[in-house]
Amino acid sequence: MMPAHARPLGWLRHSLVLARRSMAKTRRNPGAVVNGVITPALFLVLFLYLFGGSVAGSTTGYLQYLFPGIVVMGAGLAGLVSTGTTINLDLKSGVTDRFRSLPISRIAPLLGSVLADIIRYLLAVGILFGIGILLGFRVHGGATATLAAAGLAVLFGFCLSWVTVLIGVLVRDANAVLAFSFITFLPLQLGTSLAAPTVTFPGWLRGWADLNPVSHVMDACRALLNGTPVTDTVASTLIWCALLFVVFCPLAVRAYGRQQ
């Protein structure tokens, strides 16, 4: 018969079960990871050889500047395209109805999907590091700082996921979720300190890029990996992560609970 009443930490255990489901899907269809690697890798190669000479005088010097931002882009992209779309597709098939008629926490299907994303970010970030080192990137910040930089990128990707989760729950069409991620890609990922320091931008763009949380994450990772002073970049990254999570996670869970 029915097993024991709500055991402690049920929500976490159920989330992990659903995260495994999501990972099984990734193994079969590794598109999200590929997307989180290919796009940033393309930008890396493109920017490096097109602008490296003029921006930094040499591609070697420019790689040290450019690469950390590319890692952040990878973590952000892997989540941007996968979680929202997966949840949207689940909602339209009957799977979500089955989940919701099971005695599990309402957060479990969402958290499961996002947790699986973390694995995807780690994969994407790991592969990008491999590419960067092949191209000649050298870490100057030490092992702890490297882990911290990778951790920040993944944490930011995790918190940003909740925005796409909310969109995935609210919109009707999986294509709309994709369209959103493409529309936001330009200002969010490129309107940053990714390719050049924001002081070189015209005023309006500089205003945006300095405000853009993605810039803060990129600055923090750059400082950590190059062994330069992190100043307040790590703190502002953490604040942004907390803000995104605290605002969008509850909104997404609420919308998911209500969705018919």
């Binding site: 018969m1 709500a6 495994r20 489901r21 098939s93 919701r100 479990a108 018919q260």
Partner: protein
Amino acid sequence: MHEYGVVAEGLAKRFGKTIALDSVGLAIPRGQILGLLGPNGAGKTTLIRILVTLLRCDRGHARVAGFDVACQPVQVRRRIALSGQHTSVDEELTGLANLVMIGQLLDLPRRQATQRGTELLTRFGLQDAAGRPVAGYSGGMRRRLDLAASLVGHPEVLFLDEPSAGLDPGKREEPWRMIRGLTADGVTVLLTTQYLEEADTLADAITVIDNGQVVAAGTPAELKRQVGGHTVAVRLNDPADTGSAAAILTAVAGRRPQTSTRNELVVPVTGDDDLFEITTRLRERGVGVTELSLRLPSLDEVFLALTGTPTTTTGPTKAA
């Protein structure tokens, strides 16, 4: 122990200006199958979604497996299972992985979940497909897997939303046999259908809803008496026999047959033996027959009889 698997009273739900349910009530004794019959847009799916705690009703109340769906949704969810109108298994996972996942979500340890999954796959004849992704399953296999998935947690009450929708008529027998097997274990079943035949074959009782209201309720036999049962159609070899054939049909069915095109005589019958009586008498008189059929009343005919108005089965829900 509660006497009813499902009791609902005065359930009402409105979406904007559309009234999906307008005071619907029903009761299913434990271990019985209730067929919920109605055309598209009648409110069947809305009713199910309220009973499985996916949707809140505006008015009325319902108890499922002894618990109130509005106040005790978690207790209800522990005792029910839903098998949806659209297959609700994961396409990309294998059949076994789907069942193991559900088992783990129901707090079974992994080993037990695998055991239960394997047992159900065998019971539903899917053991050979256990390791294949569901995307490659046929419609019938998916339906069976879906049913298996809903049984992982040994539910007390099972909700089946159009279990044979989209299946070829010949393939419906398969899920039917499975569903019938469940009540032997004391499971209460509420199944929605658009096919009178399905409700007739499976259900202990039938509730017919239309436009969000119950228009008839009773056992299949009771409903058929209201509707007029079967129709016998006879097509003759020789048009010259029309007179004697009509006389036989009138004598057995108690009313004059209608002559349709191409020498066909059609008459509604009520008794179970009427068809045999008709064939016997036709033979005694030596009336040659090219075609002889016994038809169940169609859903449209049921509605015509029950509501006095033909159904608009595909049109938008009428505002009541």
